[in-house]
């Protein structure tokens, strides 16, 4: 069966976390609220709760990651789960085993929660369609498609600083075309009814039909940043230059890099976010990344609470609201 809503069980429960698209504002708010309660746990000396005791979480990363993988691992351990990290470089897939065979084998080892990152868009959906009923999949990034937990931790961070999101304006700056974070964030922000979403980038880095998602597109960063409350910077990868989408990183920084002077066009209390890893001097000036308006490291901390919330929700061990 192919179904856009496979992340929900027939009773409306969140069974997998694959994308923020179609998740709904109520569901997202529930995750954010639950994450708030876990953020309290993380501040205590004894940081563990027993919600996933007896569960085995597999971190299955087919693409390298530091932040996402470590925070998922910490989150699982703070929920008292057993954690298995699979190094795909040395695993059976590099010997030609198919993705679905890898998953079937891990299921046979009684692993019941897969945290998966994969370079192909839709890989997590494929796995979710083929796992047993009591097995859960959390998408930790699939190709250019989605990175729901990053989007959720971002809106969590935004909400903490700007509780009245419906009054606020968010600018996403950079390579939206190749960004799963941007896609997931746009869906999450729309579901939460944020005041305005802007995209700022040269046209080669913009996906088609952003306007259809309710996003205002700016090619000029100075105009795009005017009076925004939240600035989300995206990482620029070197291969964009190799594929002739941009002339050079220095030209990009000169045209679209976030400098203190440009940030001054936003509201004085605007916050600056970045999913990391940052390229200083390419998309962001160090004075901004390390400056008083930056909440970049706070995002990393919040990632643990959000991932605890998502894992507890899909595993069915957190209190859930009725329906969707």
């Amino acid at each position: 069966m192919v179904d856009g809503d496979i992340q929900f069980a027939p009773d409306g429960r969140l069974r997998h976390c694959l994308t923020t698209e179609g998740m709904g504002g109520e569901r997202i708010t529930e995750i954010l609220d639950l994450a708030e309660s876990f953020a309290g746990v993380n501040d205590k000396t004894i940081k563990k709760v027993p919600l996933l005791r007896g569960h085995t979480v597999v971190n299955l990363f087919f693409e390298s990651s530091t932040r996402t993988r470590s925070t998922f691992e910490l989150a699982a351990k703070r929920l008292s789960a057993d954690v298995l990290n699979i190094d795909v470089q040395r695993s059976a897939t590099s010997k030609g085993e198919s993705l679905l065979d890898t998953i079937a084998n891990l299921q046979a080892m009684q692993c019941d929660l897969f945290v998966m990152r994969h370079p192909e868009s839709g890989a997590a959906n494929l796995v979710a369609r083929h796992v047993d009923d009591d097995v859960h999949v959390i998408n930790a990034g699939d190709g250019l498609h989605a990175h729901p937990t990053q989007a959720l931790l971002d809106v969590f961070t935004m909400r903490r600083h700007k509780p009245d999101l419906s009054e606020r304006s968010v600018a996403i700056v950079g390579d939206l075309r190749h960004s799963r974070v941007a896609r997931s964030e746009i869906h999450a922000l729309r579901a939460l009814g944020v005041g305005e979403i802007r995209a700022i980038a040269p046209r080669t880095l913009l996906p088609v039909d952003l306007e259809g998602l309710g996003v205002r597109v700016y090619e000029d960063i100075d105009a795009g940043l005017a009076d925004v409350d939240i600035v989300v910077m995206l990482r620029l990868q070197r291969e964009r230059m190799e594929h002739a989408l941009l002339p050079s990183s220095s030209e990009y920084f000169a045209g679209w890099g976030l400098t203190p002077e440009r940030l001054a066009r936003a509201r004085p209390d605007a916050i600056v976010m970045h999913p990391g890893p940052t390229n200083r001097g390419v998309e962001i000036d160090s004075r901004v990344a390390d400056g008083p308006q930056s909440v970049i490291l706070e995002q990393v901390t919040n990632g643990i609470a959000i991932r605890m919330a998502v894992m507890a929700l899909v595993a069915g061990t957190a209190p859930q609201r009725e329906g969707r």
Binding site: V2, D3, G4, I6, E21, S98, L99, L100, H118, E120, S121, G122, A123, N125, L126, D142, G143, L144, H145, A146, R180, R183, P207, V208, D209, G212, L213
Partner: protein, 423 residues
Amino acid sequence: MTALRITGGRVIDPGSGHDTEADVWIDGGRIAAIGAAPASFPSHDRIDAAGCIVCPGLVDLSARMREPGERHKGTIASESRAAIAGGITTVCCPPDTAPVIDAPATVELIRQRAIEADQARVYPIGALTAGLDGQYLAPMRALARAGCPAMGQADRDVDDSHVLRSALTYAATIDRPVILPACTPSLGHGCAHEGTVASGLGLPGIPVAAETTAVARIIALVADTGARVHIGRLSSAAAVDLLARAKADGLPVSADVAAHQLELTESALTGFDARAHLRPPLRSTGDRDALREAVAAGVIDAICSDHRPHEPDAKRRPFEASDPGLSGLETLLGLVLARVAAGDCDLVTALARVTAGPARILDLDLGHLRPNAPADLCIFDPDTETAVEPDRFVSRGHDTPLAGHTLPGRVRTVLVDGRIRSD
């Protein structure tokens, strides 16, 4: 060989526009007469076609049999049997087999296997360039003599415009049409139509410009060389416009569309359905509607199945890593009839696109009903609907995004050379 009389059917010969209730008399593998019995017709068997359409067997310009080279996906025996199940009596297979159809021996092998299978006629399309590499000309004259009605490149572009120009000129010398793909490779790296759906799913897109740039170059070289070129599998409204203008200018170009392009759009990819991973990709509703109009108006000359059978594992992968293509032989007729049911065009016109239209492109003495023509016939019931159940396909390929659809029509009896081939 027993003589046959097909009685009571509505006989349609799309090429001539002939459409009447009549008997069809078959003797010696050929049509003896339509209407009144010919003088001294021998003793014969009778096929009751009351309530059915009797038309020429369908001619499919592009269906992969997977043999030689990929017998785990399909064989000439399995796929020509599937063709018959779909009412198709003539199948053209593109040259991207392994080895490539660039030597008379390969043509001979395919023809021999088809004779052994004793199902549909199989015409191998010869390679235009050796190995389909786009560098050296394939031995087109020898391939034509071995039985290739046309030369082509399958999905492989000829990057070097000098080589393409020269190949077209040479093909014109031996008076063979050339079938070319409509995709500029450097723009065709994606796996889905560059549009809203692919953007939302994060799938790399294939822009319409991949098709228009290719079609524009082909048209320029047709004008230059005078070669007859058939463009395989158009997918966009913009390319249809280019084709219509070239035809209005009197250039010898023709084109086909894959039948599923007339039914489905990019929305079939929702949820990463790998069965909808096709080449060219399913495009927008506007593109699909333009293709429908072009078929009705005759700007597009033929509808093909673009049959590409796969083993099941080929689709059990993330979308982009899955193999493109669907199993299409057994849904071709239904998709054509669906256009009639939707009111796009009349039955005679629709059937012309899968009989006389494609046969004319390849100069084949097929796809029509007239005395002394080979008795290749498709008899179908137009009033019974057929549910698309890929598990029950005769083909070894069981993947199609049309699964679960219901299409009009049901094939009853199929004859090749006056002999019943259908079960």
